[in-house]
């Protein structure tokens, strides 16, 4: 890990990640044109009552994962847990920012356990997703 464990304290704000959601990226992610669904095709989306194609929740939850991985690296990629409620639809043209803050750091046996509050905001500062993550790092 790049960041020393003693710097990762309760209240530490993880470096946020901001990304622009584009229809191109949504389509690439889904595998359009082979896959036409509510995330890659406006007509399919309108057919189920949406105004247009909606960004898949896992797409912007991946930004949360990236944010955590940037700090905790391999300790997120094996044993990490994420729980999130997706609150507001995200559409192409939105800019979303993944944010997180360490809320608890405790010793569990030979590991240090971290709890992280996570959320994703859009450009209107609406929380589009809120939740928590946790992981363990061996004591060094």
């Amino acid at each position: 890990m790049k960041m020393p464990l003693d710097k990762l304290i309760e209240g530490y704000e993880l470096p946020s990640i901001t990304k622009k959601v584009t229809f191109d990226k949504m389509r690439t992610y889904e595998g359009w044109p082979n896959i036409k669904n509510i995330h890659s095709d406006d007509e399919v989306a309108r057919g189920v009552g949406l105004p247009r194609a909606v960004c898949r929740g896992n797409m912007f939850l991946a930004y949360v994962s990236e944010m955590i991985c940037n700090v905790f690296e391999e300790y997120w990629l094996k044993g990490g847990k994420l729980s999130a409620n997706l609150l507001v639809p995200v559409f192409s043209g939105d800019t979303v920012t993944a944010k997180g803050e360490i809320t608890q750091k405790t010793r569990e046996g030979s590991d240090i356990s971290f709890d992280i509050e996570v959320w994703v905001e859009n450009q209107r500062h609406e929380k589009v997703a809120v939740g928590s993550a946790s992981l363990k790092v061996p004591q060094q």
Binding site: T28, E30, N37, L77, G79, S83, N85, P89
Partner: protein, 141 residues
Amino acid sequence: MDKRTWEEAKIGEELGSIQYKLTSEDISRHLLGIEDDNPWYVQESPFGGPIAPPLITNSQYERLYASHFSDGQAFFHAKTEVEITNPLFLGKLITVRGSITDKYIRRERKYIVLETTVTDEDGREISRSKNSLASIRKFPG
């Protein structure tokens, strides 16, 4: 198999399994979509070879649900709880197994909760998750 609708789904119903192999094209597409340039997804990682981005299998509940039910496109992803158990290596055959663990109506929307586990061909658990879906349309009354 004739597909059913949400109304016919049963709590506790096992959805069986689906299998597929994650290709480098799948990974590329995923990485381009989320703009993540972590080198561990394309070259050596602390786990050995390149690994898949951790949430890449978290949408597979959708395929499993859609293999049984015909209204799959009519749901929002409302909540996820996922545990990244082990990294997934490219080229491995993946098995996604799941079941319906809850079903209810709240604020005029139909909800369904699916629990899935993903394992690789060596029997290693890759992830386990619980995903809640909410109907896009409301059903008043």
